[in-house]
Symmetry: C2
Subunit: 456 residues, 2 copies
């Protein structure tokens, strides 16, 4: 029953049902997504996708973010390309329990669809965004961690389902149509982890957005799939759940049942969007504690008027996942460097920060950065949680500095405040960034979502 | 090395390398695909897809089959919608070793791309078609049967790779770009078997075609994926191979190695396209022996001037897969009836044939057909091969007729000849069917593939 119950829950959810903290989390998620997408709009991956696919563009209804509303393309391609831009800097949000980046697939599809259909209010947009994010995170929890371990990029493999649920809401699909949309989305499983470090990692949430949008549109037209897609013997959970032993119980626990965690247990269960977090650094979240430590050490060393280049050695004690996911010792470009704890730590020490600029190819190949990078040793410490790290720097003169991080900045325990919530937008939009920022924060009040995209 | 070797092999393959029987198989495959696609062009699933997605159509470059060249849409949507039409009657070809329907994903993408780019000769088209079909069948063999057993629709989960390889050839991608196209295609895994019996079964090869086309176009633009997608630890074979124990050896055996079966062992190994077969009946191939037997019994009973409606009972001895895949006792419409050995056998007995007309919803609900259907008992006989069946009919007057099938019509042992190769096209194209048929048979001679689509 998971599929139909998810469809029924999503169909019934209204803005007025949402607790205020859920609304606030949704607005923050949208704001952060818009900033990431604007910031990623001039990345090579985004530009290649746009240029390659231009011969196929249809009617210009939906905004390509990063051009102050001046570039519109068809909704299918807008969903894809905005989705790519949203993830290409690895700067987007993270649902910590599943490491899904939830807003990319859902918001990319939703904004494109809302502009295509017109007349969608900010409040209806928020309700649909929440429904989509809850759907993808809950189905993700049902298959976690086996699904990710075997090699699926869980952001996109669940993202198409979230996008379909969200778009189904604003298009006004019935419960049954929504179930068929979930089926059409779930039968398109996007995202192998092998792609990490290449442009295709960012293709994943973009294509998931497009798949979800397509699914909702076709289901509304009467295209049939199945009303038992998630739970069927040869349905989504069994096929992509990688032989998780209790997959159907897990699906019921998180999606279709009535227990504490189930999505349909609205108002009693928990909201996944409240567990969404925002990144201070544009790279895999497992490196964040090390960057946090290194950036703080940068400040300490400089405050004593010492030379950051006279580092003799750096030892980072890290959780095992850090080396599994981000163990690249000699990244050859910016995308690979996001999977290098060594480059990321070196930027923290050298610059006191890690923003998209520190992942430019030129910085990755900068001899001064490489000199520091190559002095970093990462040691696995199985006693650490993923959120902890300890970094020790020894200078050539023998002075030693140590920093221990319990919870990295950006975690639920040390959240980014509103002013720190990086938008990424200023370098792309210039003076227009203020207007874009204001429009995003005020999304709830928009009578028609089309009124705010002109600033984005 | 499988990915790069596949890319290198495909890039190097030329029309002049192809043995004459391979060329003939390719032309037959294309002809059969065109017939199925034209025949499926007015099915509800095809029409819904076309109507729902019309708001997103781009430049009109590529023919939607079934309209004598009068309807063109953008290449991406043409690939999708022709792919849906090609499979919607379950009438398309079958690679018997994997039950992949190989031509749908590849030809749907290839024809759309060739018309978009223009100037692609019939011979280059044939070489690309062969490359794509070999690629999808070989990667399919590498993961067969675990991949299918767990629930993937292997036609589409491998079809995107075949489509990407084929389109890469006609677009002129380098070996490295082709490898990245394979990666972009492989990271979009389309097709859950749960969808069998719904419109979405036909969506699968259509979407695979579109995914492969998109992959080749983006890779040519410089969008990067991975050059080790198939064989990497968290790459395609490991992720979708469902823990097949020797997956990497299997991949080498069929794709990247140099042994008897390997794809790169061109000229020494075997050609999968020679193992492609064509369907006399528009339904799952496992039912074909029963329909064959029933249709022959129809002829025998009528030849004795006996009344086919006076059947007392029918007993069909079948391979176990028949009931696993097609055990629906009371199908409610034509799509479900394709998964009913009972309805299919009843049509063989009642009409002496099973064509798309026998899977119209009205026939499925016809009381006379239902009366025969409900008298059929299917018994599993594990001694039978999938190609064998034995059907016994007892009439009310006690007369008994029995037919044993060793190899169903349409199998490699009893292939359809040219005149029997159903095109499906006549009811759709009317008098234009002859011109369409001629154009397809003469594809090899076409200077530009655009010259033949005007008849299709």
């Amino acid at each position: 029953m998971a599929t139909l119950r998810l469809a029924g829950w999503a169909k019934a959810l209204e803005y007025s049902d949402l607790p205020s903290d859920v609304v606030r989390a949704a607005v923050r998620s949208f704001y952060n997504w818009a900033g990431c997408t604007i910031g990623g709009s001039n990345h090579a991956a985004t530009l290649i996708a746009r240029q390659s696919l231009a011969p196929f563009f249809g009617a210009s209804t939906s905004t390509l973010l990063g051009h102050k509303g001046e570039v519109k393309i068809d909704a299918q391609h807008a969903a894809l390309i905005n989705g790519i831009a949203s993830h290409v800097h690895d700067y987007d949000d993270t649902h910590l329990d599943t490491i899904i980046h939830p807003t990319g697939p859902v918001a990319s599809a939703l904004l494109a669809a809302a502009e295509w259909r017109t007349g969608v209010s900010g409040q209806d947009f928020i309700a649909a965004l929440v429904a989509g994010i809850e759907a993808e995170c809950k189905v993700g929890l049902a298959v976690w961690p086996e699904h990710y371990d075997v090699g699926w990029h869980i952001t996109s493999s669940t993202g198409s389902i979230g996008a379909a649920v969200a778009v189904s809401k604003i298009l006004g699909l019935t419960m049954s149509e929504t179930a068929h949309a979930i089926g059409l989305a779930a039968t398109q499983v996007v995202g192998l982890r092998e792609m990490f470090g290449s442009h295709t990692k960012s293709f994943h949430p973009g294509r998931a957005a497009q798949c979800g949008l397509l699914a909702a549109v076709m289901a509304q037209g009467g295209y049939t799939s199945s009303e038992t897609t998630l739970e069927a013997k040869r349905g989504w959970a069994n096929v992509v759940g990688s032989s998780k032993a209790d997959i159907l119980q897990s699906l019921d626990k998180w999606v279709g049942g009535e227990g504490e965690f189930s999505l349909v247990n609205n108002g009693v269960g928990r909201w996944e969007i409240l567990r969404n977090s925002f990144k201070p650094f544009p790279c895999g979240i497992v490196i964040h504690p090390i960057i946090d430590a290194c950036a703080q050490l940068h400040g300490e060393i400089l405050s004593k008027n010492l030379d950051i280049h006279k580092i003799k050695s750096v030892t980072a004690k890290v959780h095992p996942l850090v080396l599994e996911l981000t163990g690249k010792k000699t990244p050859k470009d910016g995308l690979e460097a996001k999977f290098s704890v060594y480059h990321s730590g070196a930027c923290g020490l050298r610059f006191g920060k890690a923003t998209p600029a520190e992942y430019d190819d030129a910085v990755v190949l900068d001899p001064e950065v490489i000199a520091i990078r190559d002095r970093i040793t990462a040691e696995i410490n199985t006693a650490l949680t993923p959120d902890q790290a300890m970094v020790t720097v020894e200078l050539e003169d023998g002075q030693v500095f140590t920093k221990t991080i319990e919870h990295a900045i950006g975690s639920l325990e040390v959240p980014l405040d509103e002013t720190m919530l990086k938008t990424n937008a200023p370098p792309v939009l210039g003076e227009g960034a203020t207007a874009a920022s204001k429009a995003c924060w005020e999304i709830e009040a928009a009578e028609d979502i089309c009124n705010i995209t002109q600033f984005m």
